[in-house]
Subunit: 152 residues, 2 copies
DNA sequence: TTAATAAAGGATAAAAATGTCCTTTATTAA
DNA sequence: TTAATAAAGGACATTTTTATCCTTTATTAA
């Protein structure tokens, strides 16, 4: 559905947004640890996100990754687009290049419903909104699968 | 979303169903050619479908692949399950093992809508129904992306 | 019983995705 | 200016997916 790299990217971004206060910067090893991703792989992904201006990075001591105010309202789909591209939302379910609304394959209509629902899920969720739902706590990753209202 | 192997499998099955009359059997090379898949890879996939009793195969001269009457009403999801498994319909969008209805991640509700839509697309479409929509013609693959009503 | 035919199945190869290691570049404080 | 720190980036390794090749097994007709 969506690549592992992309999932790591979304998790990392949510983590960064959830720690967005007063000039806090996070380094690769901390991010990788908290979102449960291999460090060097996480580094590559953060690089992509930074180049796409989804997050911001600074080199050197006191550097790291963080998110700026103007970046908070971006929809998650920007992450998907940066890492996986938009093809999941566009391609035919049977892998037919000829398939389109005017030349539909037998699964087209049903499949399009699912594809569009997926696109909407990522399009209508902003980074800020996602991070709002995250609980405080020792382990980011454990609290990620736990709505704020349902905190233990 | 769904693997290439699985797409080949669905296309092959639609092709076989669309040729389902009076003891017609199709061999690997013909199927592979018509659904535009590499022959040896197609063979492996047909083997899986045959073992799962989604289609039927017979060895030897006058052998080949075909579908029996009792197999026509199977939903396409059986093919997906045989080749990719059911994990696409079950796993968390952010790749979290802890995520569930009672412990939802911030994307859970939105993502579930898309996941369920995908599952329904495959669950509520039978092989027979799919093949019904396919046009007659020289090239199966070209006519696949063309509803019967819109035939040229 | 033999030759021919077609799928089954094992082994291997190529490509893509994931993951790792190490060097370079930028920035900071001393 | 130097040493330390952290991201950028290049090269490589591993794993998974996709694809190919070749041998074996089953079936048929002659």
């Amino acid at each position: 559905m969506i690549s592992k790299a992309c999932q790591y990217g979304i998790r990392a971004t949510i983590f960064i947004v959830s720690r967005h206060h007063d000039g806090v910067k996070l380094n690769i090893s901390e991010i990788a640890r908290e979102v449960d991703a291999p460090e060097a792989f996480m580094a590559k992904i953060l690089q992509v996100l930074s180049k796409h201006r989804i997050i911001t990075s600074l080199k050197g001591p006191y550097g790291g990754f963080f998110i700026e105010d103007f970046q908070l309202e971006q929809p998650v789909i920007k992450i998907v687009n940066a890492i996986d591209g938009m093809s999941v939302f566009e391609e035919c379910g049977l892998g037919l290049k000829q398939c389109s609304a005017s030349h539909p394959c037998p699964m087209h209509d049903q499949y399009k419903i699912a594809r569009d629902a997926l696109q909407n899920a990522f399009l209508h969720t902003s980074l800020r909104k996602l991070a709002q739902e995250v609980n405080e706590g020792d382990s980011f990753i454990k609290n990620l699968a736990l709505k704020k209202s349902e905190s233990c």
